[in-house]
C-alpha cells in the first residue's frame, strides 16, 4: 500500500475483519441511509419545505421536542438523586432497585406503552385520582411526557453512577474540614465533578426520547396538531402512501439526530477527562473552598 493506511502488526486477520465490517456496515446501514437521502433529494427545496414546515409537522415537532425535554429534565434531577442514593446509602432492597433501573432498556416499548396507558387512563390506577383533581394524563401531552420520562430513566443514573463510585471521598472530607457545610460541599465539590456525566446522560435521554415511538403511541391519543408525535406522523404518511411526505419528515429527524451526536460525544469526552483530572484537582479545590468559606 502506498500510504500508511495501517500500522504494522504481527497479528493476522486485519483484511478479513475490516473488509467484512465495512461490507456489512455498508449493506445494512450506510446504503439504506444514503438511499433515504437520495429519495429526499428528488423533492425540490420548495416541496421539501412545504412538507417539513407544514403546521401539522411543526405541531408534532413542538410536542416531540417539548415532551422529550421535560422527560430528560425530570430524569436529570431524579437520575442524579437515584444515582446518589444507590452509591452512597444502604437500604433494604437496594440491589433490586439497582438492577431494575435498566428496565426501560430491556422492556419492549410496546409493553411499556400499554402498561403506562392502563395506569394513566381515565379509569386507571393513577389516571382516576388524577382525573378527579382535573388533570388529564393519558391521551394528552402530559401522557407523552410520562412515557418519555420512563424511556429515558436509565441514562442519567447509569452515566452518573460510575463517576460517584470513583469519586475520592477525601475531597469532601477536605471541604468539610475547612468549614464547608454539607450543602456547600455538595454544590461546589460533588456537583461540578458529576456535572459532565449528568449532562451527557441528559443529552442521551433527550435524543432517545425524540425518536421514541412504541411507548408513546398508546398513551398519546394521537390527535393531529395536539398529541401527534413526529415518528407517528411519519407512519401516518406512510399509511397514506405519501412516501415523499414521510421521507421529508424522516430527513428532518435524521439530520437532528446526527447533529445531536456531536454534543453527546463532546460531553462524554469532557466527562471522562474530568474523571481523570479529579485526583489532580485536590489542592486546587481546597484553595477555592477555603477562600469561599
Amino acid at each position: 500500500m502506498a500510504f500508511t493506511f495501517k500500522k504494522r502488526s504481527n497479528l493476522p486477520g486485519f483484511g478479513l475483519a475490516l473488509g467484512y465490517t465495512v461490507l456489512y456496515l455498508s449493506l445494512i446501514v450506510l446504503i439504506p441511509l444514503a438511499a433515504t437521502f437520495l429519495k429526499a433529494s428528488s423533492l425540490s427545496w420548495q416541496q421539501f419545505w412545504h412538507i417539513a414546515a407544514s403546521p401539522r409537522a411543526v405541531a408534532s415537532y413542538r410536542l416531540t421536542f417539548g415532551a422529550s425535554l421535560i422527560g430528560a429534565l425530570i430524569n436529570l434531577v431524579f437520575g442524579v438523586l437515584v444515582a446518589w442514593v444507590l452509591v452512597r446509602y444502604s437500604f433494604p432492597g437496594k440491589r433490586l432497585f439497582d438492577s431494575l433501573v435498566d428496565l426501560p432498556f430491556a422492556l419492549p416499548t410496546a409493553v411499556a406503552g400499554i402498561a403506562l396507558t392502563q395506569i394513566y387512563a381515565p379509569n386507571g390506577w393513577l389516571g382516576r385520582p388524577l382525573a378527579s383533581i382535573g388533570i388529564k394524563s393519558a391521551y394528552s401531552p402530559l401522557g407523552v411526557a410520562i412515557a418519555l420520562t420512563f424511556i429515558g430513566l436509565p441514562f442519567v443514573v447509569r452515566s452518573v453512577q460510575p463517576v460517584l463510585e470513583d469519586m475520592d471521598k477525601e475531597l469532601e472530607e477536605a471541604a468539610a474540614s475547612l468549614g464547608a457545610s454539607r450543602w456547600q460541599t455538595f454544590s461546589r465539590v460533588v456537583l461540578p465533578t458529576i456535572l459532565p456525566a449528568a449532562l451527557a446522560g441528559f443529552a442521551m435521554a433527550f435524543a432517545r426520547a425524540v425518536g421514541e415511538y412504541g411507548s408513546v403511541v398508546f398513551i398519546s391519543g394521537n390527535m393531529p396538531m395536539r398529541t401527534e408525535i413526529t415518528p407517528l406522523l411519519i407512519i401516518t404518511k406512510l399509511d397514506q402512501y405519501d412516501y415523499a411526505g414521510a421521507t421529508a419528515i424522516a430527513v428532518v429527524m435524521l439530520v437532528f439526530s446526527l447533529v445531536l451526536l456531536l454534543p453527546i460525544n463532546l460531553l462524554q469526552k469532557w466527562s471522562s477527562s474530568r474523571e481523570e483530572k479529579a485526583a489532580e484537582l485536590v489542592p486546587e479545590k481546597i484553595g477555592t473552598l477555603g477562600a469561599g468559606a
Binding site: F5, K7, S9, N10, L11, G13, F14, A17, L18, Y20, T21, Y24, L25, V29, P32, L33, A35, T36, K39, L81, V85, L86, R88, Y89, F97, L100, D102, P104, A106, L107, P108, T109, A110, V111, I114, A115, Q118, I119, W125, F150, K169, E172, E173, A176, R182, V210, G211, E212, Y213, G214, L232, I234, I235, Y241, A246, T247, A250, M253, S257, L260
Partner: protein, 288 residues
C-alpha cells in the same frame, strides 16, 4: 476519628431517609408500577384466559416469528461485532474513529426511520422495488423486511461491548500465541475469545432483548398481516387496540418476563466479568 469523618461527609439520618424515600418513590412510580400492571392485567380474567390467549394460532405464529427474527439477527450481529472489534481493537488504521461512530449510528436513528429506510429501498415505490417485483421477491410487508429491520436496530450491541474490551487487552497474549506457532483462528478461539467471553455474552443478551422487543421499526415494514408478519410486540398492539386487554397483557407478560430474565442475566454477567477482571489482575500481580 472515623466517626467524625463520616459525620462531616455524610448527611443526617433525616436527610438520608428523605432522599432514599424520594428515589424509591420515583423508581416505584416509573419501574414497579408498570411491571405490576402488566402481570395484574394479564391474570385479571384468570389463568384460563391467560393460557388461552397465549395459545391462539395468531399468538403462536407471532411468537414463532419473533424467535425467527431474533434467531437470524443476533448471530449475524454477533459475527459482525467480533469482526469489527478485532479490526478496531487490535489494529491501528486511518479512519478508525469514523468507523466507530458509523457503527453506533443505528442507536441514534428513530426506530420508525429505521423501518422507513428499508421501505424506501425495497418497497414498491422504492429504489429496488420494481426490480424485486419483476423477480417476484417481496421484502417489505414480509419476513425478510422484519429480519432486516431487526438487524438494523440491534446492529451496534455486540460490537460496542467488544471493542473497548479488545482494545484494553492489548496484543501481547495474541502475539505470544502467534510466535509459538498458533494459527490466526487458533489464536482467536483459544486466546482472545476466552478473555472476552463475558463481554460477548453481555452484548448478545442485550442484542437479543432488543431484537425480540423491537416495535417501531418492525411495525413500519411488517404490514401487520395476522398470522404471517406479526411479531409479539405487534400482536400485543393489535390485541390492545381491539380492547382484548387480558390477551394483550398476557402476551406482554411474556415479553416482560424476557426483560426481567435479561436484567438477571445482565447482573450475573456483570458480576462474573468483574470477578474475572479481579482474578486476572491478581494473577498478573503474582506473575510479576
Amino acid at each position: 476519628m472515623q466517626r467524625v469523618a463520616t459525620a462531616a461527609t455524610g448527611e443526617s439520618a433525616a436527610v438520608r431517609w428523605i432522599l432514599i424515600g424520594v428515589a424509591v418513590f420515583f423508581l416505584g412510580l416509573f419501574i414497579f408500577l408498570p411491571l405490576a400492571i402488566v402481570f395484574s392485567e394479564a391474570f385479571a380474567k384468570g389463568l384460563g384466559v391467560y393460557w388461552a390467549s397465549l395459545r391462539t394460532p395468531d399468538a403462536l405464529s407471532a411468537i414463532g416469528l419473533t424467535l425467527l427474527a431474533a434467531g437470524i439477527a443476533v448471530p449475524l450481529n454477533l459475527v459482525f461485532g467480533v469482526a469489527a472489534a478485532w479490526a478496531i481493537g487490535k489494529f491501528e488504521f486511518a479512519g478508525k474513529s469514523l468507523l466507530i461512530t458509523l457503527i453506533d449510528l443505528p442507536f441514534s436513528v428513530s426506530p420508525v426511520v429505521s423501518g422507513l429506510i428499508y421501505v424506501l429501498l425495497f418497497g414498491l415505490q422504492g429504489l429496488l422495488g420494481p426490480w424485486l417485483a419483476r423477480h417476484d421477491l417481496q421484502v417489505i410487508f414480509a419476513v425478510p423486511g422484519i429480519v432486516l429491520a431487526t438487524i438494523f436496530v440491534t446492529f451496534p450491541f455486540v460490537a460496542r461491548e467488544l471493542i473497548p474490551l479488545l482494545q484494553a487487552q492489548g496484543q501481547e497474549e495474541e502475539e505470544a500465541a502467534i510466535a509459538l506457532g498458533a494459527s490466526g483462528w487458533q489464536t482467536f478461539f483459544r486466546v482472545s475469545l476466552p478473555n472476552i467471553k463475558w463481554g460477548l455474552l453481555y452484548g448478545v443478551i442485550l442484542c437479543n432483548a432488543r431484537a425480540m422487543g423491537e416495535f417501531g421499526a418492525v411495525s413500519v415494514v411488517s404490514g401487520h398481516i395476522r398470522g404471517r408478519t406479526n411479531t409479539m410486540p405487534l400482536h400485543v398492539e393489535i390485541l390492545y387496540n381491539e380492547y382484548q386487554f387480558a390477551a394483550a397483557f398476557a402476551v406482554a407478560s411474556l415479553l416482560a418476563l424476557l426483560a426481567l430474565a435479561t436484567l438477571v442475566a445482565k447482573t450475573v454477567v456483570e458480576w462474573r466479568a468483574r470477578r474475572q477482571l479481579a482474578e486476572s489482575a491478581l494473577w498478573n500481580g503474582e506473575a510479576v
